[in-house]
């Protein structure tokens, strides 16, 4: 199926979608709950290894591996989340804690026997093809939308906006922040599982702080308080290095330059506090042909 698309383009598309899964997860935590993490590569790593071990060593189906990856990554997030968020660590303090946690997980993976240490796990099955990856992304977006634009997400957004006022509106800061962290870690874990079965080889040094930083950059460039923004950014950041392959070393420079340009020209990110929604697009199209009511297209759901 879909074999009319060349394997190379398929691979780029899959990579973009995998990045989007993790970015959407982090968007819930950073863009909507207002906490910055520089350790999300740890959750991606835990997800990748959980799924790889489940499918390769225990011979479980990919779908089960994906669920386990999300669950184990989520549980891992509680290890860092409970002590730091209970202590109400915020902003830079919390971020430093996640930085340390990310490194600790990577070192752990390098030394465990079930993960084959630094040698990594080669020869994983090629499960993350175009269609399954797309289905997973669609599900992640669906659940994220249901989470963030309704009651539970509202509590998270209130905390981002003003944590003291949120607390005075009866919102338990610890519970809501931890819930967002858990959700984002589940997404990162699922993203990692997809990655493992796309690249088909995993190794601890694929999950360094550089990856955490890039993921955070994706969310910030995509726009705080947006789901579609980080998806667009994830796609851009997957495509640009490929398009610029002809420019050799300059492609990485271009990558950085795009990030700088977005932050200078649009500090709120590509879609800050806005969404592209289906109903918004329908309104926009109606307005273009001049039939529907003249509403502001392309904003919130």
């Amino acid at each position: 199926m879909l074999s009319f698309i060349s394997p190379y383009y398929q691979s780029v598309a899959i990579l973009a979608m995998i990045n989007a899964v993790s970015a959407v997860g982090l968007a819930v935590f950073t863009g909507f709950t207002g906490l910055m993490s520089l350790g999300h590569a740890a959750f991606i790593a835990v997800g990748a290894y959980s799924c790889a071990i489940a499918t390769k060593i225990y011979g479980l189906p990919f779908a089960v591996g994906l669920l386990l990856a999300g669950l184990i990554a989520g549980l891992t997030s509680l290890v860092i989340g409970i002590p730091t968020l209970r202590a109400k660590l915020r902003s830079d303090y919390f971020t430093i804690a996640t930085l340390g946690f990310g490194e600790a997980i990577r070192v752990l993976l390098e030394n465990l026997s079930i993960t084959s240490g630094a040698r990594g796990m080669p020869g994983l099955a090629h499960y993350s093809t175009l269609l399954p990856t797309f289905i997973v992304l669609a599900l992640v977006v669906f659940f994220t939308r249901n989470f963030i634009f309704f009651r539970y997400g509202r509590m998270a957004v209130a905390i981002r906006e003003d944590h003291i006022a949120a607390e005075m509106a009866g919102i338990n800061l610890f519970k809501v922040r931890l819930r967002s962290l858990f959700f984002s870690a589940v997404c990162a874990g699922v993203g990692g599982a997809l990655m493992a079965h796309h690249v088909r080889f995993i190794q601890p040094n694929m999950f360094t702080n550089v990856q955490s930083t890039l993921l955070t950059a994706t969310v910030v460039a995509g726009g705080m308080g947006s789901i579609t923004g980080p998806i667009i950014a994830a796609v851009i950041f997957a495509i640009v290095p490929e398009v610029l392959r002809v420019a050799e070393m300059w492609r990485l420079v271009a990558y950085g330059a795009i990030l700088v340009a977005i932050m200078v020209l649009r500090p709120q990110g590509i879609m800050g506090y806005r969404e592209i929604s289906l109903s918004g697009m329908i309104r926009f199209c109606r307005r273009l042909v001049g039939t529907g009511p003249g509403s502001k297209g392309g904003t919130a759901p």
Binding site: R145, A158, D162, I164
Partner: protein, 264 residues
Amino acid sequence: MTITMTIANLSKSFGGISAVEDLNFNIKTGDVMGIIGPNGAGKTTVFNLITGVYQPTRGTVHFKGEDITGKAPDEIVKMGISRTFQNIRLFRNLTALENVVTALDLHNPLYNLAETFFLNIPFVDNKVKRAERQLREKAAYYLELAGIADQADKLASSLPYGLQRKLEIARALALEPELLLLDEPAAGMNPEESIALAKLIKEIQVRLKLTVFLIEHHMDLVMELCDHLYVINFGRELAEGSPEEIQANPAVLKAYLGEGYKRA
């Protein structure tokens, strides 16, 4: 006559500095009680102690007979105390209506986490969407109560100062309190505006059968609105009584109103 709140020996010090010391007063149910005092007298500290932002060094706060000293802010709100802030704290990137809806969630848990994850399918009417519509209608009612119904879809940060204060009141009302704490609701308003606000607060108080406890510097508003006043100076009790008594109290006149204050 029932008592909504009893404050006993309430004290708070920061390091060696005593912000408030040995405050004792009752707030009667259905009253509008005012706390006044010069800048830095410790009025906002009293609010922060009642709402759990600070833990008192000594003393207790009882609400409807129950000891709430040391409880977390979100628990205290659930029991029926809500507040506004002196330095406005709105959810700035949300609309006025969304600000109020966020507060409504507390006492209106119309759906749970599993329902929002699995039932809430786009383009299909479902329990979550119906609940959301219900919440928005209810939020519109609170905006109307505060006299800002026409601002529903504007971003909180884009509202002028006076309307932001009213939005804070609407949000506090949506928490369905029995005791409403207002921290300088008329700050930055001219005398006519503050009198209009006093009328609005009175109207809301009667309609929702609230007990109100407020901090205010506008004496016009205080004298118009309050049934009872508590005066503090340098963190200590200075006087207590009806507005008429307070206006005639020489110690208060000296410390706060300035000598020769006459009612406008």
